[in-house]
Amino acid sequence: MHIKMLHEFRRNKIGVIGLSILLILFLSAVLAPVIAPHDPWDYSFNYFEPPSKDHLLGTNDIGYDIFSELLWSLRTSVVFGVSVAAIACTIGLLVGISAALVGGTYDVIVMRVADALLAIPSILVMILIAAYFQPSLPVLIITLSLITWQTIARGIRAQTLSLKTKLHIKASKNMGASTFYVMRKHIIPELFPLFMMGFVTKTRIAVFMEAGLSFLGIFDPTTKSLGVMISYATHYLYLDVWLNWLLPPVFSLSILIISLAFISFAVEEIFDPRLRRNNGTQI
């Protein structure tokens, strides 16, 4: 699979749109401390102020500036999403490759554990653990990674198994390359697209999970979160605040997940040549 990744991606309009939106959102999340006009924890403003020059999206029920809150919440989403994806994909990659290369009983046990994890709704596990421990953000990140690596591991394992029998790998082994060398030079680079697709998908699931868990009121209460904003805004719908309070977090969350969905679709289309017609669906 030798595809000029960047070149192909640039030709894929869906991918370019997704990536541009994602970059804008990432940038505003990273720069939140700089661009936020107010401290998101400052509740000294008037309640329920309509949008104005000073408060772009108005203020909420206890006097927080909604726009600043939104930026900081986006930051939480991005941090949570990317960290979970990074940890879960690393575990999945290591488990998948080792299962394929070691084989035997180790392979069987590890993959059956992965299958078993598929049958357990991870949100309920997160709820149970959150209820017991009231954990902080890092603990939640690690917990979610520990129960969502299985899909990555399955994909990586299947791909490694098929790579193992390829001629160029056999050739390098015959010329005396060590397992580690083969892994580093041949297997991991070829697994990269699969890894990237998994990374985007996991980020997406984690972002949704963070918003969902905080919507249910079981996330670390010291962090700003889109889910918490949505949850509080729905309590005051009768005040007609939905345009400036409910819609912004709902819209940001959706746009974030949509951009990730676009990217993962584009990457899948680029790397699965069977899905391509000529040079990708040109939209």
Partner: protein, 325 residues
């Protein structure tokens, strides 16, 4: 090492149950501090000395870990999932009362989204690269990105609160005593919004999967044969291509169920629909851990049951399947 499919299935189920027992039995006991206080203390409940002693006996906490475990397994085998001090009812009864509403939502949305997803996916792939395909694809990717949470909140604020077309909460009007057709109409009116949210959140997944698998099927030689025989377009599309393209749909039902149960949790919470999801939310807000544990057990059993049924019937659906790897 050759593992046949049955042994593989059984090991997976075994691991799932071990994991479940770890979460529900071992985890609270591994926590530092008192098990009873960790599990039962909430904001709403005050544990009296009498209750405490009762719970110690119920869980056998004065006995060895091994005996506690056998007590736990016996209770589980009898369908006893514990007692909720928040609702003053047996956890099993609470879950059984909520389950039908959730099943109504899940099963109906599964069927509706499958029909919509298959028809849209087949038509889209047939017109690959055309205007209809492109616009369908983009709009489906778009809908796919909107989380069920967001769809639900928007539906609720627009259709229930703004226009008042549908009720805002519940599965039927309380104390209405309506019977017959009026009752059915009442239930349906309450069902519309949660059901459409859940269905809408599933259609893109079905659509994208069918579209991808159709594209691969269309290239198969038997499609060319069907063409050469002079069959009508519609026949080739649905009876030759789609019939083969929907196979992955069945293998994924079990995995998808876990995602759908996640969606149900938010949708039922938003629309206050009295199923397992709302029960979970109420358990969370009251910190009713035995109830959360019970819901986890029932959800996992539900997913396993569906997996078993699919494993059994899959050979009938797709005779090509190999049972020994």
């Amino acid at each position: 090492m050759k593992w046949n499919r049955k042994a593989k299935m059984v090991t997976v189920y075994l691991f799932t149950i071990i994991f479940l027992i770890f979460l529900n039995f071992l985890l609270p006991r591994l926590l530092p501090g008192d098990v009873i206080l960790a599990m039962y203390s909430g904001q709403e409940i005050l544990i009296t000395e009498e209750m405490y002693n009762e719970l110690v006996i119920l869980h056998g906490l004065d006995k060895t870990l091994y005996e506690q475990f056998s007590i736990y397994l016996t209770q589980l085998a009898h369908g006893d999932l514990g007692y909720s001090y928040v609702f003053h009812a047996s956890t099993t009864d609470l879950i059984l009362a909520a389950l039908p509403w959730t099943l109504l939502l899940v099963v109906t949305s599964f069927i509706l989204s499958a029909i919509a997803g298959i028809v849209l996916g087949v038509e889209s792939s047939w017109r690959r690269g055309g205007k209809i395909d492109k616009s369908l694809l983009v709009s489906m990717l778009f809908v796919d990105g909107v989380p069920s949470l967001a769809i639900g909140v928007i539906f609720l604020s627009v259709f229930s609160l703004k226009f008042g077309w549908f009720p805002t909460a519940g599965a039927m009007t309380p104390y209405s005593n309506a019977e017959g057709i009026a009752h059915i109409k009442d239930v349906l009116m309450h069902l519309v919004l949660p059901l459409s949210t859940l269905t809408l959140s599933q259609i893109p997944g079905d659509y994208l999967m069918i579209r991808n698998s159709m594209m691969l099927t269309i290239r198969e030689p038997f499609i060319l044969t069907a063409r050469a025989k002079g069959l009508t377009e519609r026949k080739i599309k649905y009876f030759h291509a789609a019939r083969n393209a929907i196979l992955p749909f069945f293998t994924r039902i079990g995995i998808r169920l876990t995602y759908v149960l996640t969606g149900v949790l938010f949708i039922e919470t938003i629309f206050a629909y009295p199923g397992l999801g709302l029960l979970t939310y109420e358990a969370i807000s009251n910190r009713d851990l035995p109830l959360i544990q019970g819901i986890l057990v029932v959800s996992v059993l539900l997913v396993l049951l569906v997996n078993i049924v699919i494993d059994i019937f899959y050979k009938k659906i797709d005779p090509r399947i190999e049972y020994a790897h």
